[in-house]
């Protein structure tokens, strides 16, 4: 009945809105996974990025300065994870969980300290990211108006997928990174320092999550809300698992969640209670994992103290 009206270009637009932050964060998680670091701090990194992006945009009056400060914030928070997990050999899962809560705390705290606002911060001085239609291509029917009408961060997200694919599988750096993740002893006996690659991977995930946060708070909406990532970072973690850390697969997984969120949103417009449709992305995520039935021996065992 509603299949026709559901699948129009407005739906695809909202699919991409939902997809881009998840995709960026998931690529960050993927790089860490490949370097042998299980990074579940994506949620907190993204939230820090979202906040810093709004702050940067507000004080500089430029959306791109906002994006840059989002990236800086993501890198800064991830450097704590890198130092703790790599240099101090702490448990990355405990660290990441604590950093996620730290991010919720510090952003809400600064929201009050800087603007004296609780909950949601909106202000005309926050400059949002504009979409940049690519001249001829954005005129194409259906997907054209969506795929070629993204923000700069959106284009970066779509470009990151092939770039990471190339770097990982076609360059020496990528080979060494994968070597560090799969056989650290072999890598180090060949003169590759695992720690350096793991640092690089974690900081890269910080930068990508910072971008993801900026897209969330300056692209999808122009505001900051407490805990506005609301589980997207976790969905990104699952996307990495589902795709077995392959960039193209991650894009596919992110698309799936983008659809789940967008269709949920649409059904809500059709009168379904929001409580049921809000749960959709998480349920879809879990069902996808169950259907995939893969072996995740790495992540689950012996992490708690």
């Amino acid at each position: 009945m509603f299949s026709v009206e559901l699948l129009d270009s407005a739906l695809f637009a909202s699919v991409f809105r939902a997809l881009i932050p998840i995709l960026l964060a998931a690529i960050g998680g993927l790089i860490c996974e490949r370097a042998g670091v299980f990074n579940i701090g994506l949620e907190g990194l993204m939230l820090s990025g979202a906040f810093a992006a709004v702050a940067g945009s507000y004080f500089s009056g430029s959306a791109y300065a906002g994006v840059l400060s989002g990236v800086v914030a993501g890198v800064a928070v991830s450097s704590v994870l890198a130092y703790g997990a790599v240099t101090r050999k702490g448990d990355p899962i405990v660290l990441a969980v604590a950093l996620n809560l730290f991010a919720v705390g510090i952003t809400a705290f600064l929201l009050v300290a800087v603007w004296d606002v609780r909950g949601v911060f909106q202000d005309p001085r926050i400059v949002g990211l504009k979409t940049m239609p690519i001249p001829a291509l954005s005129q194409l029917p259906w997907l054209g108006s969506v795929l070629f009408n993204l923000t700069l961060v959106g284009y970066v997200a779509l470009l990151v997928v092939p770039v990471v694919q190339l770097v990982l599988f076609r360059t020496a750096v990528g080979l060494r990174l994968r070597g560090v993740g799969e056989r650290p002893l072999a890598a180090s006996s060949l003169g590759v320092q695992p720690g350096r690659y793991q640092y690089g991977a974690i900081l890269a995930s910080g930068a990508l999550c910072g971008l993801a946060g900026a897209q969330l708070s300056l692209g999808n909406v122009v505001q900051f809300a407490e805990n506005m990532t609301s589980g997207r970072g976790w969905i990104a973690v699952v996307a990495v698992m589902l795709a077995r850390a392959h960039p193209v697969g991650v894009l596919g997984a992110a698309l799936l969640f983008g659809f789940a969120e967008a269709i949920g949103f649409r059904l809500q417009g059709n009168g379904l209670p929001s409580q049921l449709t809000d749960a959709a992305p998480y349920v879809v995520t879990l069902v996808a994992l169950v259907v995939a039935r893969r072996q995740f021996a790495r992540a689950s065992t012996s992490v708690a103290t």
């Binding site: 702490g90 809560l101 705390g105 002893l185 973690v237 698992m241 409580q275 169950v290 689950s300 065992t301």
Partner: protein, 404 residues
């Protein structure tokens, strides 16, 4: 072997006899100093310093702010409030500690707690019968609901290889939204502006430890005066305190005195060894998650029947007990008695943070900030040390090979 005591009266671990001689004349003092310089105290101290920096950046005076925090949490009504918060917080931390000790990383405490609260409330509202019996039935329903939701995550791992870490977290969201839906629509009290169920019957509510209307309570209140802290505590706190205390004892006995507790402990330390030694680790995961979720569910229903009286939409999540409880369990290293101490400490930080917000104008989020920093520092293994750290070697890296 004689037990040496330090000058703070704590038994100190005895060291090889020559160590004290070699290091100088003050081995006892030295050891006392070392225990104060252990990871937890140093991390807490450093976190408070960092919190102070943040407070100063926010434009308040850190010294004043911390004084307000201390007074707000430890004196008069604040102390009562601290105890009141500590009970569910310790309960949630205990729920997660049971799992962590067995090497199961349960991140879904929130959903398990919410479902427990929901199931228990439904029983409390709709099952007729004598108050105490219905209350116990509500407890049982809460344990069952939270426990089964937890066990579901474990089954997803043992049968379908979806890690508990992820499945428990993801399962929290449908639990939250489902509960929210029921409270908003089918269970909502008609004609009330509050998004909540009807209040549960008086007889089903958890009574306070010593009500001022009871003869004994009234006598004590008359003898000590209504402002006395003991009177306030016993009239405000309810029997959840006793339930949580019993739970601590039960977990303690389980950990130390039962074969299953021993198996859980070694599985947490080394699952490969445990499996080799004949522990059925898959079954252990499921039962551990059932117990963990069950305790979380129990905490949920005790909050509803104790202080909240009705299930209010989002109220159980707003307390943030599940996530703070996780930090408490990590700080306490999953040991029950330490969970109680760490839980009380974090509860004091929360109450103090609120006092700070009221009078020093600093956001109460400072408490979550400080708590998270404590755990980050502990995970980073901050400690004061004079020893040279052993450099990582090839041997250490070769252990990593086992992960692949």
């Amino acid at each position: 072997m004689s037990v040496e005591t330090t000058d703070v009266g704590m038994p100190a671990p005895s060291a090889p006899a020559d160590r004290g001689r070699r290091r100088g004349p003050w081995p006892i003092l030295r050891r006392a100093a070392m225990s104060l310089l252990g990871p937890a105290p140093v991390s807490i101290g450093l976190a408070l310093v960092l919190g102070g920096v943040v407070i100063a950046l926010a434009g308040a005076d850190p010294i004043t702010a911390y004084r307000v925090m201390g007074e707000g949490a430890l004196t008069g009504p604040g102390l009562v409030n601290t105890f009141q918060r500590a009970v569910p917080l310790v309960g949630m931390a205990l729920a997660l500690a049971v799992a962590f000790r067995a090497g199961v990383f349960n991140l879904g405490g929130e959903g398990q707690m919410v479902l427990g609260g929901l199931a228990g409330t439904v029983v409390a509202l709709f099952v007729p019968g004598p108050g105490l019996l219905v209350m116990l039935l509500a407890f049982a329903a809460a344990v069952l609901a939270g426990g089964l939701w937890g066990a579901l995550s474990a089954v997803l791992e043992t049968r379908l290889a979806v890690p508990i870490l992820i499945s428990s977290l993801l399962l929290s969201y449908p639990a939250r939204y489902f509960s929210s839906y029921l409270v908003r629509f089918p269970l909502k009290e008609k004609g009330s502006s509050l998004v909540a169920t009807e209040p549960v019957p008086e007889a089903v509510r958890i009574p306070s430890l010593l009500s001022e209307s009871s003869p004994l309570g009234a006598a004590i209140a008359r003898a000590l005066g209504p402002e006395n802290i003991l009177v306030r505590l016993t009239s405000t706190l309810d029997w959840s305190l006793v339930v949580v205390a019993l739970l601590i004892v039960a977990v303690l006995v389980f950990n130390r005195r039962t074969p299953a507790g021993f198996e859980a402990g070694i599985t947490g330390l080394n699952p490969h060894f445990a499996r080799y030694a004949g522990v059925r680790t898959d079954r252990l995961k499921v039962s551990t998650m059932f117990v963990s979720g069950g305790i979380a569910g129990l905490v949920g229903i005790m909050l509803v029947l104790g202080s909240q009286i009705r299930l209010v939409d989002g109220a159980l999540i707003a307390t943030n007990y599940a996530w703070t409880g996780l930090l408490v369990a990590l700080l306490a290293g999953s040991r029950p008695l330490r969970v109680a101490v760490a839980g009380a400490f974090f509860a004091a930080i929360i109450v103090g943070g609120e006092a700070m917000q009221r009078s020093a104008g600093v956001s109460a989020q400072i408490s979550q900030l400080i708590q998270a920093i404590v755990i980050v520092l502990i995970a980073i293994r901050v400690q004061v040390t004079w020893r040279r750290r052993a450099k990582s070697t090839v041997r250490e890296q070769s252990d990593d090979l086992g992960r692949v």
